[in-house]
């Protein structure tokens, strides 16, 4: 009886989580321009608007470029760091861990204003580099955390075995360790990409009009006038997110079977 009630509650809450997102997606295929149902007909005009406008398509490209660059940089910095942290002990590890994870908890508005004031005088505001650096900072904790989690399933004895066989520490890492934690590294990179793809506040403060990202453009659109083009953009972001979610789920399954086998 209590469990039945719990099921009713849980299903309602699950609906609350999913329904708002699902509810707006069909609107982007509307032939009219209203923000409610029933739809007057179906059309792709809002997607045509998206791809034809001076703002939306460049914003999508900016998002993909900045997301990939910052995810790449975060992975390059984060993977060796995670490996180092995995082998570190004691107070040094705690301090290093604290610094690495801090971008996850510091409110992003503080980061945004701090970067605006630091990057302004050195010409990094309204530049791709500035935004990529900022997004790398936000994404790097996710890489470190995910790679650390992957390393939990890695037996360090293998490294000693490799060195006994004459491999140097670097080649041992690349030949023995990296292949086994690769799904974790890839998942970390995707997390970092998703973080950049999601980010609005920093883009709002330090991006110039040439670096407008998709979320930044959506923010402007929502502030200015909500058109169905915005819902088309939202639908594309949802599609991208679902894709990333599926890739990560696949990688995690692969990571698990590898660790198990």
């Amino acid at each position: 009886m209590a469990r039945g009630l719990a099921w009713v509650a849980a299903v309602l809450v699950a609906l609350f989580l999913v329904a708002p997102i699902v509810a707006i997606l069909p609107l982007s295929f509307s032939a009219g321009s209203f923000l409610f149902y029933p739809l007057p007909g179906l059309s792709l005009r809002w997607y045509q608007d998206f791809f034809g406008s001076d703002f939306w398509l460049p914003a999508l490209w900016n998002s993909l470029l900045i997301g990939s660059a910052s995810a790449g940089l975060a992975t390059l910095l984060g993977t060796p760091a995670a490996f180092g942290l995995w082998r570190m002990r004691g107070a040094a590890r705690a301090v290093a861990m604290g610094i690495v994870l801090a971008p996850m908890v510091v409110p992003v508005i503080v980061v945004a204003v701090a970067l605006l004031l630091t990057f302004g005088p050195i010409g990094l505001v309204a530049s791709y580099s500035g935004l990529i650096i900022a997004h790398t900072t936000l994404g790097v904790p996710f890489v470190v955390v995910t790679v650390l989690a992957a390393l939990e399933g890695f037996d360090p004895v293998q490294l000693r075995a490799a060195s006994a066989c004459g491999a140097g520490p670097v080649s041992a890492f690349f030949r023995v360790c990296l292949p086994q934690i690769a799904p974790g590294v890839a998942a970390g990179a995707i997390f970092a990409f998703a973080t950049s793809l999601d980010e609005v506040v920093i883009a709002l403060f330090i991006a110039g009009p040439a670096q407008r990202t998709l979320p930044r453009q959506m923010f402007a659109g929502l502030n200015d006038s909500i058109s169905l083009t915005t819902t088309a953009a939202a639908a594309m972001l949802v599609g991208l997110s679902v894709l990333l979610l599926l890739v990560v789920a696949w990688l995690q399954r692969r990571g698990r079977t590898q660790a198990g086998g």
């Binding site: 530049s127 791709y128 110039g208 009009p209 040439a210 200015d224």
Partner: protein
């Protein structure tokens, strides 16, 4: 070998943004968004890009001298040409936020109406703050500011601009102050208190807009029963979206916006080229038919059809009862009253 790949990868990754940056920044023009910027894009921005082969980036802002101050002071300014309000022009010129206007490069002072000429800016449009409502929802709408502040006779939300400028003037006119006396009263502490008291009486019913595009949108969606608005955007909504919005011209607040070039802009020459382009009477004459704002080059009005002229804030019947916004008053009082307004509004 692996180390080398990682190193080159890292180098490539860090070089990529540097390359992107080395290209420098394109001319960035900042305006007020919505239907107005849509019209500007069509008659100013796109033709300018096509005819001069210059890339132009657009940005939208919603005003505030503090935005310009902090852009200059933080060294993080990325704007070149900005459309500013009249008191922002005076304050910014005073504080060294703008480049001096090179009048010779944009057609000479004599090519513009006298109000549009300033050492640091060139007039862009003449416009009015008016009351607007939707005849489709409210057949019997307000007729003056007293009606606007009368939430018993005219219930519902009303849109007002988030800021003290124009809002305090409206409150005083609603409270019975004649337009000619508004700035005299507002110059005293008691007058400011009186304006805020009047605003207090409808505070719960006010929806504050920050962007000029919001009032027509709120009217269309029925979010507000009536709203303060810029005259052009209301007419534009009637024209392009087939709305039936009414404009109340009684005691409208009349003013002008100017183009300025931000201090230290690396694109000063391009900016002047842009201003020269948009200063030509033939080009300016294409704006009012799209959105009924007055323009500033001499000899434009002769080119406009009478039905367009009648919708402009400068038409005799529209300007008759207008209050001319005092940029002098706001030059002296903007900071103080903005501070008070912000505290008042966020409580």
């Amino acid at each position: 070998m692996h180390r080398r790949t990682v190193l080159t990868g890292a180098l490539a990754a860090s070089a990529l943004p540097t390359i992107a940056r080395a290209q420098g920044r394109d001319l960035t023009v900042v305006s007020w968004g919505g239907a107005y910027q849509d019209a500007q894009r069509e008659v100013y921005f796109r033709p300018f890009q096509q005819q001069t082969n210059t890339r132009l980036l657009e940005e939208t802002w919603d005003g505030g001298i503090g935005v310009l101050r902090s852009r200059i002071a933080s060294g993080a300014n990325t704007w070149d040409v900005v459309q500013v309000e009249s008191e922002e022009l005076l304050i910014g010129a005073d504080e060294g936020l703008f480049e001096r206007m090179d009048w010779a490069a944009i057609g000479g002072r004599d090519a513009y109406i006298p109000e549009a000429v300033n050492d640091y800016g060139v007039g862009a449009i003449l416009y009015s703050f008016i009351i607007a409502y939707d005849r489709a929802r409210t057949p019997q709408g307000p007729t003056n500011w007293a009606d606007f502040f009368d939430s018993a006779r005219f219930p519902g939300k009303r849109g007002m601009r988030k800021g003290p400028k124009t809002t305090l003037e409206m409150a005083l006119m609603a409270d019975g102050v004649q337009p000619a006396q508004v700035y005299q009263v507002l110059g005293t502490a008691a007058g400011v208190d009186r304006a805020f008291r009047k605003l207090d009486s409808i505070k719960a019913d006010i929806a504050w807009f920050e962007r000029g595009s919001q009032p027509p949108q709120w009217l269309a969606a029925g979010e507000v029963a009536m709203t303060v608005a810029y005259n052009g955007r209301i007419s534009a909504a009637n024209q392009t979206d087939n709305r039936n919005f009414a404009i109340v011209w009684t005691n409208n607040i009349f003013t002008l916006d100017s183009w300025v070039i931000m201090k230290g802009s690396p694109n000063r020459a391009k900016a002047l080229e842009f201003l020269k382009f948009v200063g030509q009477p033939a080009v300016q004459a294409t704006l009012p038919p799209k959105i009924p704002y007055g323009v500033t080059a001499k000899g434009v009005n002769e080119r406009l059809p009478p039905d367009v002229l009648a919708n402009l804030p400068t038409a005799p019947q529209n300007i008759a009862s207008a209050l001319h916004l005092s940029d002098r008053f706001w030059l002296d009082n903007l900071d103080r009253l903005t501070q008070r307004f912000n505290t008042w509004v966020s409580r």
